[in-house]
């Protein structure tokens, strides 16, 4: 079975400081991992994905994530937070089901950016 644990429900950073959103996963197979972002009243936008290529994955808007198999982690980072980064972030593990590909979501981490 697959599962995702986002270790913080809420993270608050000052503008210009680094962002770290933590995610641990559990998967029976080599996982595909994703980070999605949801701005208020908007849909889920893909930030980045890991599908067994390079362990350091670069995404949009300066975000990146590192896949660490030994730690079963896929933490999301950004060197310098911007006000527009304030949103909810979801760590997601993908897996093939009986006849399709399913996504299992973490509970989400709400990122607040203080000016």
């Amino acid at each position: 079975a697959q599962s995702v644990t986002q270790l913080d429900s809420h993270v608050s950073v000052s503008e210009g400081t680094p962002v770290l959103l933590r995610c641990n996963y559990s998967s029976s197979y080599s996982p595909s991992l994703f980070w999605y972002v949801q701005h208020p009243n908007k849909g889920l936008q893909l930030l980045l994905k890991y599908t067994s290529a390079a362990t350091l994955v670069k995404g949009i808007n300066g975000f990146e994530a590192e896949f660490k198999k030994s730690e079963t982690s896929f933490h999301l980072t950004k060197p310098s937070a911007h006000m527009s980064d304030a949103a909810e972030y979801f760590c997601v593990v993908g897996h093939s089901g009986a006849g399709s590909y399913q996504l299992t979501f973490g509970k989400g981490t709400k990122l607040s950016v203080i000016p």
Binding site: L44, Q102, L103
Partner: protein, 115 residues
């Protein structure tokens, strides 16, 4: 960039009534999905659809739910007799393939409120 579009953005319905949520997936995508997010909870998989039939469904997707692709562009979710607990944000997603290499693209969601 092509988008998944969902209508309406907000639907208010009396308990016991039928509701149809509509989605237009990205035009060359072949796999379609519905997810649900109850307020304050995780995004949950409901159903996947490929080649004009359901590929997989979750325990949530009981007999009151159905999906249909009535024409070449629309993908609908019908809830036959709505309950209060069906109040949630419903997301449609589509992908070009069934694996992780082509991520699922999400619409902005329909907020369903059952009175």
């Amino acid at each position: 960039e092509p988008e998944v579009t969902q209508t309406p953005s907000h639907q208010v319905t009396q308990m016991g009534q039928e509701v149809i949520l509509r989605c237009v997936p990205i035009s060359n995508h072949l796999y379609f999905y519905w997810y649900r997010q109850i307020l304050g909870q995780k995004v949950e998989f409901l159903v996947s659809f490929y080649n004009n039939e359901i590929s997989e469904k979750s325990e949530i997707f009981d007999d009151q739910f159905s999906v249909e692709r009535p024409d070449g562009s629309n993908f609908t979710l019908k809830i036959r007799s709505t309950k209060l607990e069906d109040s949630a944000m419903y997301f449609c997603a589509s992908s070009g393939t069934g694996g992780g290499n082509q991520p699922q693209h999400f619409g902005d969601g329909t907020r369903l409120s059952i009175l």
